[in-house]
């Protein structure tokens, strides 16, 4: 297990290193920091002098080394717009996005497992057919359209849910959470449903397909031949094997969900990272963009490592490979 974790950690470091290279490349090519810092009423000689002072004339690898050194100390530069360290801005916006992704993942897990399993063991049932048809529709509608339709129906027409913002927050240390108040939940429900609108049908279909395949296997036929109850065959013998590929895909999809927050947050004016990212793009706020990239990269790597560990717990063959 320990060897397995060390190996995963080394892989994670390599991935983060590559992300930092990409981040650096963006920083180099988006806008000219001298122009951003000095304005237009400065002569060309003074600009040149300024460049020299900031080290912008050094070879790229020297600059990259400096960038990496700063990054390791948690310094990702200063946001042009907020005039504050980018790291600080990111950490302030992160809870909103993480809560959104969390609630949306919760919705996905709570609904996809029972619905996927049901449609696998009763493939000819009316409800399964409805689910399969509906899931195609769900996958096909883009997230921002779902979000706008939800705002139109539930906020404007019916007035059930607020259409923007996070509502009442409770501060837990530096973390502003909306999950402890009713108002916070009222606000988070629609964005998280919209965010899960693509992944949920995808997961229902994935679980159904995997489960149906497992149900055809020899060991399931053998389980029937042992005279076991349907419950035991479905939920112990088949379900555990269904989970393996679902966990793997699930980890990757969670990352995609983080990417989808950009659309959802923009529609719902959700003050999270996605919303901040869109603003930063419009303002060509390079340090903030790079900070976002680095942060999301680290979160993705972290999530995937956790997913691999869970996979190791469910799949006995992996556990052995880790020990050796």
């Amino acid at each position: 297990m320990i060897a397995f974790m060390i190996r995963r950690l080394a892989q994670a470091l390599i991935v983060i290193f590559i992300i930092s290279l990409i981040g650096f490349a963006i920083k180099q090519s988006v806008g000219d920091p001298v122009r951003e810092l000095t304005g237009i009423s400065v002569s060309a000689e003074e600009r040149q002098e300024f460049r020299e002072k900031l080290g912008l004339n050094d070879p790229w690898y020297v600059q990259y080394g400096r960038f990496l050194g700063h990054t390791l100390q948690g310094d990702l530069g200063t946001s042009f717009f907020y005039k504050r360290p980018a790291t600080e801005v990111i950490l302030e916006k992160a809870p909103a996005t993480l809560e959104l992704v969390f609630v949306s993942s919760l919705i996905i897990i709570l609904f996809s497992v029972p619905l996927g399993v049901f449609s696998a063991i009763r493939p000819d049932h009316f409800f399964s057919r409805l689910l399969m048809g509906g899931s195609i529709v769900g996958v096909s509608i883009p997230v921002f359209l779902t979000a706008i339709m939800m705002v139109y129906i539930f906020s404007i027409k019916l007035g059930w849910f607020p259409s923007y913002g996070r509502g009442e927050l409770v501060m837990l240390g530096g973390w502003g959470t909306g999950l402890l108040t009713v108002d916070g939940w009222m606000h988070i429900l629609m964005p998280s449903v919209a965010l899960s609108s693509i992944m949920l049908p995808l997961f229902i279909r994935l679980i159904r397909a995997e489960m149906m395949e497992v149900l055809e296997s020899e060991y399931i036929k053998y389980a029937w031949a042992k005279g076991l109850s349907s419950r035991r065959v479905w939920f112990v013998h088949a379900f555990k094997n269904t989970l393996l590929p679902v966990i793997t895909v699930g980890g990757v999809q969670l990352g995609v969900t983080i990417a989808f927050t950009i659309l959802t947050e923009t529609v719902f004016q959700w003050q999270g990272l996605g919303f901040m990212f869109m603003e930063a793009v419009e303002r060509s706020d390079a340090p903030l963009l790079v900070a976002y990239l680095m942060f999301v990269g680290v979160v993705m790597v972290g999530v995937n490592t956790i997913v691999d560990l869970i996979y190791g717990l469910v799949n006995p063959t992996i556990r052995i490979a880790g020990v050796k």
Partner: protein
């Protein structure tokens, strides 16, 4: 007392999208308590599906169209699914072909063993169930069974897994074991070991065994009676020694002639020319007629019935019409 198992006129059909096909027709055989029967034939002859039909576990879209499967006088083809589940894995155990595919990869051996006991002997405590599992593992010569119970299937070799599956089959002391090609997926050296073990255990506990195989050599060592299947029908049946020594049906003769020990050293192995017809394009009359060296005109018109041949074996062949006339 009723026979242990009496299969009568079993017809199994598959409802395919392109139409119905008949996998077996008119299959009849019976088994006494403690008797071992070999069900022999090529792939696709219908022997596996016959085996699975006994515990009503034919893969979809197959189903028993007609006929009876009387187990201790109870027709299993007509019992409720719940009643069937009480018999499966309890009074009739199955051993599957490929031990690498049969055990669930994510459950420990202990779980896969004790769940059978918890299901069929709910009065047993966890410790009692564990003790029975250990006892059966010892019976199939698994070393240090206590440790083995905690392990997963991938930690065992193919031969060991098949032993475990035999141990699982023995858990509830069944009256009948159906073994579907139990040694086909194993190394030749292990095949004999597993077969000996299976025979020894059946003999000791007086269990009935239906051995489904294409391997005549194995059948001749293990079983008392043989039923040879071809294209969904039993073409010959009788005591093992007599069927091997004096085969009546041309197909059985061909099978025995095809054994390597029947040809002389250095010569080509004998074979039956042609292939078994698929379920969809059965020839009219006897299904063996395209490959039969003794084919006659009647073979193309009429399906021969199973009747006593000259030596007492039952054979379904027009070569033996006279005996039929006497009856």
């Amino acid at each position: 007392m009723a026979k242990l198992l009496e299969v009568r006129d079993l017809v199994i059909r598959f409802g395919l999208r392109t139409g119905e096909v008949t996998a077996t027709s008119g299959v009849s055989f019976s088994l006494d308590r403690g008797e071992r029967l070999g069900l022999v034939g090529e792939s696709g002859a219908g022997k596996s599906v016959t085996g699975f039909s006994i515990i009503n576990l034919i893969s979809k879209p197959g189903y028993i169209a007609s006929g009876e499967v009387n187990f201790n006088g109870e027709n299993l083809a007509r019992v409720s699914p719940e009643r069937m589940r009480q018999i499966r894995g309890n009074r009739i155990s199955m051993i599957f072909q490929d031990p690498m595919m049969t055990l669930n990869p994510v459950l420990t051996i202990g779980t896969q063993m004790t769940e059978v006991l918890h299901r069929h002997r709910p009065e047993l405590s966890r410790e009692q169930a564990r003790d029975i599992a250990l006892d059966k593992l010892r019976k199939v010569h698994i070393p240090s069974p206590e440790k083995r119970l905690e392990q997963y299937p991938h930690e065992f070799s193919g031969g060991m897994r098949q032993r475990i599956i035999i141990a699982i089959a023995l858990l509830t002391d069944p009256e009948l074991i159906i073994a579907d090609e139990p040694t086909t997926a194993l190394d030749v050296t292990i095949q004999a070991e597993i077969m000996d073990l299976l025979m020894e255990l059946c003999e000791k506990d007086g269990m009935g065994l239906i051995l489904i195989t294409h391997d005549l050599a194995v059948v001749s060592q293990v079983t008392q009676n043989i039923a040879v299947m071809y294209a969904g029908r039993i073409v010959e049946k009788g005591p093992t020694s007599r069927v091997i020594a004096q085969p009546q049906h041309p197909y059985t003769r061909g099978l025995i002639a095809a054994l390597p020990q029947s040809s002389r050293h250095g010569e080509r192995l004998n074979q039956i020319p042609g292939m078994m017809p698929t379920l969809k394009d059965m020839p009219p009359g006897c299904a063996f007629n395209p490959r039969c060296p003794h084919v006659m005109e009647i073979c193309h018109r009429q399906i021969p019935a199973l009747r006593p041949g000259s030596n007492g074996n039952m054979a379904a062949c027009h070569l033996y019409p006279e005996e039929n006339a006497h009856e």
